[in-house]
Symmetry: C2
Subunit: 237 residues, 2 copies
């Protein structure tokens, strides 16, 4: 049994872990394109929009490209998607549509559990999202962040070590006093390398109901849970 | 009558404007030193601790010194103060005492008014305080920030333009969509130069009850108010 009594802050991945990007983008896409006569597989549309996200961030991480925000990447990635699905939108409409990613809902367990956790811990968004994206999303859905550590502060993307290092630096804590919460193993593995504690939360519907996800081996992380409620149960003391 | 309908975010100065540093440090100093037999003029002690704050920041602003956080400046500035007041503390005690600046209370009008304003605007701390300092203070007193823009992100101090520029950049807004709220004219003057709207809130007791403060000429700022309640009244629409 691990001892979590020294933990003072929780850093959360946002897209997938805290909010349901797939369901949210499917909903926003239907709302935008349905009235224009499109009847698409909205979950497939959402997944296609997200598909090139990791390679797009890798251009920045590698230094092949200067920093651009996640908002900008969402806008750029939209062009090939609408072309592929035969959707005709003006540039101004695409600019607006790309901001759908600021209107994602938290998974149902998130706000109640974070409200419990907020009494005991500093709750920080440690996201690849830029500050405006994460703040506007929180404002709409009531995510009770104490602090938003946007990728635009450090101008690169996870899993670069500098993102994880920014949490103890800015919060004036030891890495071991911080627990990274994420549904992606690559994120937790990188956090652990920088000395953060780790909590894996399974999000079985991240890519849509029934779509496969990778799951970690038993014991790979300090905690492996099914929800933020379980996280609050494990950490409340 | 100015039109404030385009304003989307409010950026607040923290020390003096949002929290009562003088009363808080007087209280914390009494709690720390009273039981050791000291009976000082606690308001004078607080003002003396704060006295060299502007020149200390200027060392950093000018580039004569590399960036150090406000937490570190509070610790450094404590040494001559305790010597002057004849107080004997160990280094570890001084380290702890310096964190008193994380335990300041908001002025009584602040939390109710910010709670009203939070429904309509992004509320950002735009402080010379470092993130840990501002976040821990907010946590203790319930300041409902949507986002904390700490000076440690940009590694210098107000009134350097880069601090004010960081708000529209990170919030993805035009400068004119942001209103700076402060009780110090130098802060508002610098914000206005970067295109932010300005609200002066008078804090007549900033340096202690009855101590003189500078007040602006009529019409110097977009709003000139006596409290955050008046700010909420002026901006709610």
């Amino acid at each position: 049994m691990s001892d979590f009594s020294g933990i003072k802050a929780l850093t959360f991945d946002v897209f997938g872990t805290t909010v349901d990007w797939c369901g949210g983008i499917a909903r926003e896409s239907r709302a935008m394109l349905g009235p224009r006569g499109h009847s698409l597989d909205w979950v497939a549309f959402a997944n296609r929009w997200r598909r090139d996200f990791l390679p797009a961030m890798d251009e920045v991480r590698s230094g092949r490209r200067g920093y651009v925000t996640m908002d900008q990447l969402h806008r750029e990635m939209l062009d090939p998607v609408v072309a592929e699905f035969g959707v005709d939108l003006s540039d101004a409409e695409k600019d607006q549509f790309a901001l759908s990613w600021r209107r994602l809902d938290p998974w149902p367990d998130v706000v109640p559990a974070m409200t419990r956790l907020k009494k005991h811990f500093i709750l920080a968004a440690l996201s690849n999202g830029n500050t405006a994206l994460v703040v506007n999303m929180a404002k709409r859905s009531g995510l009770p962040w104490d602090v938003v550590l946007g990728a635009d502060f450090v101008r690169t993307y996870k899993p670069m070590p500098v993102l994880y290092d920014s949490a103890p630096l800015l919060l004036d804590l030891k890495p071991s006093e911080i627990m990274m919460v994420a549904c992606h193993m690559w994120d937790l593995d990188a956090a652990a390398k920088q000395g953060l504690r780790t909590a894996y939360v399974r999000r079985k519907d991240e890519y849509g109901v029934g779509a496969p996800i990778q799951t970690p081996a038993k014991g790979a992380y300090d905690l492996q849970l099914e929800s933020f409620e379980e996280l609050a149960d494990a950490l409340e003391h």
